[in-house]
Symmetry: none
Subunit: 226 residues, 2 copies
Amino acid sequence: MAAVLLIDDDVELAGMLADYLRRDGFTVTLAHDGESGVQAALSGQFAIAVLDVMMPGISGIEALRRIRAASRLPVLMLTARGDDMDRIVGLELGADDYVPKPCLPRELAARLRAILRRGVANADPQAEIAVGPLSLQPAQRRAYWRGQAVELTSTEFNLLEVLARHAGRTVAKDDLSQQALGRPLARYDRSIDVHLSSIRQKLGPLDDGRSPIQTVFRQGYQMIAC
Amino acid sequence: MAAVLLIDDDVELAGMLADYLRRDGFTVTLAHDGESGVQAALSGQFAIAVLDVMMPGISGIEALRRIRAASRLPVLMLTARGDDMDRIVGLELGADDYVPKPCLPRELAARLRAILRRGVANADPQAEIAVGPLSLQPAQRRAYWRGQAVELTSTEFNLLEVLARHAGRTVAKDDLSQQALGRPLARYDRSIDVHLSSIRQKLGPLDDGRSPIQTVFRQGYQMIAC
DNA sequence: AGGCCAGGTAAAAGCCCGTAAAAACAGTGC
DNA sequence: GCACTGTTTTTACGGGCTTTTACCTGGCCT
């Protein structure tokens, strides 16, 4: 089943959780401090990470920030009962869920499965993203259209990757700007539109003559799911 | 802020939670049994529903099943500590999250916000919506009428999608505006009417000569269920 | 019957988006 | 430092989509 990375400095508790998850069908790897945890999370080997908020050295929040800076790997936060603020902040920062400690292993497993089922977001950077005639290899930053390599600039690739990861759903322009350009969308900023125009030209139309990227008026853009 | 429907037979507890949520900026409506709760959930007036699992009459699970049969409204389940099985089943059935009881109101609010932030993404984009001669593929933003592709503008598609998801029930103009145009209905705003006029022209009449979208005087519009 | 108001629809007005082209920026080699 | 090259952002304009306006029809009420 899915590969889980468990980052928690409490060796005993982590071991116990890992045992339970393994019996439940998960493949579990342990990291006992934030530093090595972040590194492992970015290795691209895991489908999801479980991250303890309270840790010596880098806090869980900081670890999450560093993971999010480079990856969309799903992350579930473990928090001690009571630190609600941290919970909210955790989700603001882009955690996918949190579970209060002490937690029932069974509950943890259920939430892991729920996140994995929700799926798509599984940004395993090693994997290839395929949507209809488009295929992307984020690890090599290469794009193929109908099997042919396409020359994209760096920004164009970023944009296309975000859209492809959310294929079939509308992505707001602000999110596109945030994730592909790394800055919030300013008023009168037309960069996204211009880049999308060039992407469309480089890719060409679908079989039915439509563009593979649809405009959703006033909301954003949507890549057509295969 | 967001309109929350709270379905719980425990009047006292529900009232307390409602108070907290209101102070937190939510608009809260209460339902004290499954039957009326399901009905309210399908009214299209709410952004999210909170549903107690343990209820006399229809159980929370059954209520969820009936909501899911007709709608993708986000639902958060309230479960008593211990019934893990129900939790898992709850998520399998398409709940968006669950919170164990007794719960901190603050935690409930945080989770509600997290789901709402996740936003529209809840609508299962792979599914195809079919209502009589109409079929919609939200993932590709395509519409077919009697098997023929129909060219719709972005807003027209949004409107039709909302109506089709609630086929057989009246949708208030204000909800249509909110969901398809992303803004509340203003006085003297005729946009919805105008868009509906063009949709009707593009689709044409049903076999019996009526429009597939009926006007419900002073209330809204309703798509005729197959 | 007549007035009032919601809704149907054509047409005008206004705004958003597509896109070419210019300007600004970043990197490279000399 | 400077010219050269490739990329990103800004600018500008035209076209299309949305919204507003206006006029008309028809239901509902007194």
